[in-house]
Symmetry: C2
C-alpha cells in the first residue's frame, strides 16, 4: 500500500465506537473515515469505492445494499471483519486481491463464560439465592447441610476443536484440577495441559471419557450435525454438553430429545437455532424463541443468548488486534488472522 | 495409646455415615463403635466414658447432655471435630490431656464456590437464562450484543487471611489472569501466586486496591467486626465483598447500609447473622431470615445458605484427613490439625 492508498473506512456503529482504540494502537498513519447507517447507503457505497482498507461485518451488512456493492470497491486491499465467525461470508463477493481477516480477542471472555457456566451447573447459585431469599435454608427441597453441590475437581472436560478459546479454557480448567482432553483436525502430541489429545475420528473416545463436552469448533461441512443421537448416547448419563460454537454443530431434534428424555445430564447452550433479526436486538424489541423445540420447558439446560464473548474487554482486545493487522497490511504483510481473499473480478 | 485404649467412638448421623471412608484410610486397628441420636443420651454418655478417641462436633452437640458429659470422659485422649470452625468450643469443657483437632478437606469446594460466585457476579447466568426463556434476547433491558458482561481477567482479588481456602482460591484466580493480594497475621514475603502480601494492619491498602475482597479469616476477638463502615468505604464503589468466613467478621448494620446505599458494588454472602436451629435444617422445616436486615430486598447481593463447603468431595477428603489424624494419635504423635487440649480436671 502506498501512502495515498491509506484510506481506512470504519463502517457501522460498533466499529466507529472503537475508533480511538484503533488509533491509539496503530503505528501506521491511516486516514480514517467513518460511516454509520444514519449517513445513508449512497454515502456508504461512495466511501467503499475509495477505501483501501475497511473494518466492518455482520450479516445485517451481508443482506444490505452496501455489502452488495463490495465488488465495486475497486481500491479495497483489505477487509477486516471485527469478530471471528465468517460462515456467512461468500468469498465470491470479495474483490480480487482483497485480503480478508477475522478478529480474535474474545477467547478470555469465552473461557471465563465456560468455567462460570460449569460452576453454575455444579453449584446452582440461582436456586440457592432464590430459596434463601424466602427464608428457607434448603436447596431444591434438601437440607443445605447435605452434600448436594458438585465439584469440577477431578472431572474430565473434553473439548472439540483446539483453537484459542479451547486453549484459554483448558488452562483455567486445569487450575481447577480437571482432566482436560481434546480432539481436533490436526494430529499432534497432547499439548500441555491436556492429558489426552486425538483427531476428530476419535470423537467417540472423547465423549465416553468426558463429564463435560465443550464444542469450540467452527461450523463447516465437516462439523454440521457432528453431534447427533449416536454421539449424545455415547455421553455419560450425567454428561453435560456445552455449545459456545455454532448451534448447527449439534442436531437440534436429537439434542432436545436427549435433554427431554434425560439421556444426558444437561446442556449449557449459548448458541441457537433461531435468532432475532438485527433490529430485534435492541432493548425495546422482542425476538423469536431460540429453537423450534421448547428448550425453555427444560430444567436441565442453562440457556444464554449468544453472549459469551460480549465483554468490553473482548472488544478492546479485538480492536487492538485489528490495529495490528492494519499495520501488517500497510507494510505489505499478510494480516495475522488471514482467512482468505477475493476471486471476484472488478 | 495402648491397644486396649483403641476404642473409637463415632457420634452422629453424618459421622457414622463416613465410617467406611475412615476404615479404608486407617492404618491403625481401632475398635469402632457408633452412636446415633436414636440410640438415646444414656447410651451416648456411657460410650463417651469408655472411648479413647471420638469423632463428633456441632453446636447441637454443644447444647446437648451428651456434650455436657464430656468432662466425665475419663479415657478420652483425642477428640476430632469433623469440620473446621470451632469458635463455639469452650476448651474448659475438654478433659485434661485430651487433644482436640479440627478437619480440613473442604478448601477445594470453597475455592470453586468463590470463583463460581465471582463469575456469576460478572456473567449473571441467572438473569440471562430467565430472560431468554421468555423469548427476549436482552439482559436487564439492554441488547445482548452490547458489552454488558464483566471479566475477572485483570481484576484484583484481595484476600483477608491466608490459610488453605485462600491458597486454593488464589491458585485458581491467578489462572484467570487476576492479580491476587492478601493480608494475614504472619509477616512474610509474598508467596506465589500473590502479587502483594501484607500484615493485618495493612488491610486498608488491600481494600483500596481490590475489585473483590474475600474474607477467609477465622472469627476471633481480633477479627470480630473487622469490616465495618470505614473499611467498606475504603472499598471501590464497584467493589464486591465476599464472605465465606463467619458473618461476625463484618458489621451487620454497616454492611446492610453500604449495600442498600450502593456505596459498594455488592456482596457475595455465604455466612449469616441468624441461622436455623439444627432441626430446621431438614427439608420439611423452614428457618429464620439470615439477618435482622432485609438483605432479600437487595439486588446487589448473591445470597447462599452457608453451603460453600458442602460437596461430597469435601466430606470424603475430610474423613480421609481424620483417619490420618487418628493414625498419628495412635502412634503417640500430635494430630496434623491440632487446635488445643483440655484443662478440665477429671
Amino acid at each position: 500500500m502506498t501512502p495515498a492508498d491509506k484510506l481506512l473506512l470504519l463502517m457501522g456503529e460498533g466499529v466507529c465506537e472503537r475508533r480511538s482504540v484503533i488509533e491509539e494502537a496503530l503505528t501506521t498513519s491511516y486516514r480514517i473515515v467513518e460511516w454509520r447507517p444514519a449517513d445513508g447507503e449512497a454515502a456508504g457505497i461512495a466511501m467503499m469505492a475509495d477505501a483501501a482498507a475497511m473494518v466492518t461485518g455482520g450479516d445485517a451488512l451481508m443482506k444490505g445494499p452496501v455489502f452488495k456493492s463490495l465488488p465495486l470497491a475497486k481500491n479495497l486491499k483489505f477487509w477486516q471483519i471485527p469478530f471471528t465467525g465468517y460462515e456467512w461470508l461468500d468469498f465470491a463477493f470479495v474483490p480480487a486481491g482483497c485480503v480478508v481477516a477475522n478478529a480474535y480477542g474474545h477467547e478470555i471472555a469465552m473461557a471465563e463464560f465456560v468455567l462460570g457456566a460449569m460452576l453454575q451447573w455444579e453449584k446452582d447459585f440461582t436456586t440457592l439465592d432464590a430459596t434463601l431469599r424466602t427464608g428457607s435454608w434448603q436447596h431444591r427441597g434438601v437440607a443445605v447441610n447435605d452434600f448436594l453441590q458438585g465439584e469440577l475437581y477431578g472431572k474430565t472436560l473434553g473439548i472439540v476443536g483446539y483453537g484459542a478459546i479451547a486453549r484459554e479454557t483448558a488452562a483455567r480448567a486445569a487450575a481447577f484440577g480437571m482432566n482436560v482432553a481434546a480432539v481436533s483436525r490436526t494430529p499432534r502430541n497432547a499439548p500441555a495441559p491436556l492429558s489426552w489429545y486425538g483427531t476428530m475420528d476419535q470423537l467417540p473416545v472423547l465423549l465416553a471419557k468426558s463429564d463435560f463436552v465443550l464444542l469450540t469448533c467452527e461450523l463447516n461441512d465437516e462439523t454440521r450435525g457432528l453431534i447427533a443421537a449416536p454421539e449424545l448416547s455415547a455421553l455419560d448419563p450425567d454428561g453435560v454438553l456445552i455449545n459456545v460454537a455454532r448451534a448447527g454443530v449439534v442436531n437440534e431434534d436429537d439434542l432436545f430429545a436427549a435433554l427431554r428424555d434425560k439421556s444426558i445430564g444437561g446442556a449449557i447452550l449459548d448458541v441457537w437455532y433461531q435468532y432475532p433479526d438485527a433490529n430485534q436486538l435492541n432493548p425495546a424489541a422482542g425476538g423469536p424463541m431460540p429453537s423450534r423445540h421448547d428448550f425453555a420447558s427444560l430444567q436441565n439446560v442453562i440457556m444464554t443468548p449468544h453472549c459469551a464473548a460480549n465483554t468490553l474487554g473482548s472488544d478492546i482486545r479485538r480492536y487492538k488486534n485489528i490495529a495490528r493487522n492494519l499495520d501488517l497490511v500497510a507494510s505489505g504483510k499478510r494480516p495475522a488472522t488471514y482467512i482468505g481473499e477475493g476471486p471476484a473480478p472488478r
